[in-house]
């Protein structure tokens, strides 16, 4: 793996770790332009009471405080989990250049797992997606989160007897994670 990719994905993982500490679904991301981080975000749905405040939106919002939106065309996203359908569509509308993600998202994934919004017919140009960078680290973040109960849900499911799994299947997570170069 290219050391640049590793570095930026680690920064995304740090954002995910922060999210976990504050009781948010641990997904983190960074936006990289010219080898510099120009925006970073973590999920904010619980604190904001807004289910659309995903890490990608927070990062874009931060970036747009200092940069015009046209910059996104030359910007790459590193995100710990495959963007959901909402974010995958938003990234296309914003014309992101490339998306690198950690683990796939078989509930909501919009760049290969459930839909392929990065490449489907659309009025915006397609973007490139690479999956599987630090996949296991991203999954562990999620596992650590999901063994907790969701106190924000109207009726939390009891999860007292869950144990943190630490094993992984070695299979490649997603069909489209054709990332031989990284």
């Amino acid at each position: 793996m290219d050391s640049c990719h590793a570095y930026f994905m680690k920064q995304a993982l740090i954002m995910g770790e922060k999210a976990l500490e504050t009781g948010e679904t641990p997904v983190g991301c960074v936006l990289v332009y010219n080898n510099k981080i120009v925006g970073s975000g973590m999920n904010d749905t619980n604190k904001s009471m807004n289910g659309t405040r995903h890490a990608e939106f927070i990062a874009i919002e931060q970036m747009l405080e200092n940069h015009p939106r046209t910059l996104l065309r030359s910007t790459d996203l590193y995100v710990t989990v495959e963007p959901c359908i909402m974010c995958a569509s938003a990234l296309r509308q914003y014309q992101i250049r490339t998306v690198y993600f950690g683990c796939g998202n078989d509930r909501f994934g919009g760049t290969g797992s459930i839909l392929s919004l990065h490449s489907d017919l659309s009025i915006d140009p397609p973007y490139v997606v690479h999956g599987g960078l630090f996949r296991e680290e991203a999954i562990m973040l999620l596992r650590r989160f999901y063994i907790q109960e969701n106190e924000n849900a109207p009726k939390p499911r009891p999860k007292k007897h869950r144990e943190l799994k630490t094993s992984f299947q070695n299979s490649v997570p997603d069909s489209q994670s054709s990332s031989p170069t990284i």
Binding site: T45, S48, T52, R69, M86, S89, I123, A153
Partner: protein, 547 residues
Amino acid sequence: MDAENILREVQPLVGEVVPIRSVQETRPVEEYAGAYVAEVNVKTASKVIKALDSAFPRDSSHPLNHLRRFAKHNQIPESLRPALLKEGYLPSQTIFVLVPSPLPAPEALQTLLAPFVPPPRETPLPQTPTAGPSLPSTPAPPPAAAETTTPATSNITLHTITVPMQPPLTPTQAEHWSSKMWPVVFNPAAPRALIAPPPQILSRVRDAIAPKAGRYLALAQAVAAQAERSGLGRGVGAVVVDPELEPVPEDSTEGAEEGSSWTDAIVAVAGDGRYSRREGGNPAQAEIAGGSGPSPHCGTYNADWEGGPELHALMRAVELISSKRREDKPGSRRQKIRPVLYGLEEYFLRKSDVPLSSVETETGTGTGGADEEGEDAVAPPPEKYQKTTETEAHAIHLHHHKEADEQKVEAGGSGGAGGVGPRIRSREQGGYLCNDLDVYLSHEPCICCCMGLLLSRFRAVIFPRRGRMVSGGLASEPVVKPVPVEAGSDHPVETAEGGTEDASTKNREYYGLHWRKELNWRALGFEFVAAGESEATSAETGVAFHA
């Protein structure tokens, strides 16, 4: 024009509310596979099942419960009769057993079934095998010597047939398969759960929203017009309604015509604001354009001028509701980033701040009868906020809260919203995202907004068919015919084929995002088909942008 005047002048759209079918319905997975059929002694049927189930366990992920395990002679589809009935047994002697996938080795199956071979053939009256339906009235079969089968007949013949692997979606489909392939059972409840919304919930919600949908959509269009006129956004609007605040059904016509009381169940409205944001310290597109009036960018699509999806009407409505749930202080950072833009937005935000009784005074309309008797701010979270499962949450809206009904009775049946505390509950009061709210949109929302509304847990989404967008995420098929497809329509296969043909020359995708079985969250989706609507007026043929 101020908000109240606009509300007074809203002319409801006239038309019909039509469910948007799910992609599972419009593009059903018609999966077929081979299965064995064997003719066995009718008296050993239960033993056959036991033997089969213990020797060849079923695949629990594909229980295939829709396939009948046995078929009597008269249930065998016409096309299979020549092959299956050629042995010439009487309907009273034999029955046909189905062995679907996972298919066992044929030799093993034959060995297993050997004890159940048909009894020796009787030499009965000349019979026509296809004249079967007399079976139920057949008198008790003669005690054929089942145990004394001659070795000559002890060979079980396995026939290979093709069977549908998915349960039928409609009785018609079940009949079709039963007459062509193998007897199939239609179960209206279980198999549809993920395929499509339960029909009774879908039709009850449709009936509940139909009387006022035309008004809410007309208001969404008025909000859209305000957004476009301002130059701050495109002409797209959203109206969010809490069905819990609707007057009880019997009173829905009474008083609906006067003043603005029809707005009582509206908790927020929002218009598109894509030209309103400053990016990277540059002035917003609206500021660059200067002056008022529609933005010059409205007539084209250039991504650089489009702001982003968080400035779309639906996303802005979601954020306005969230700000109430969070009880943001005026001037907070969040409010500065996502400001209120339009007069109508402001009007409904203010309305949500004051208790219901004061709203009535303020708007000067006589809905009456919803006095809270001091329990407004501290009302316990209603039952719906304590529910989690989807079906329960949907079902909750089929009946109103008892307390609301009682209030109505006390007030002499004069109507009025079933007041239960604040209009938008805060986090502390049990408010959660956009749980169980309905959203009315002037246009088909973009894919991003569609998923945003699912993540926000809306109950239902409604938009006018002529607001369809090529970039939209809700439609599940082209407009095949002007006649709306009714819920529970019995011809999914035929219309889906029409749709597939169109898809070869498509200029858009049909995602049907409101109800996809793969997704964790689902909402009911409806299109509003205006009376006498012609397809040529659809926004699909206009400027392509993300609504």
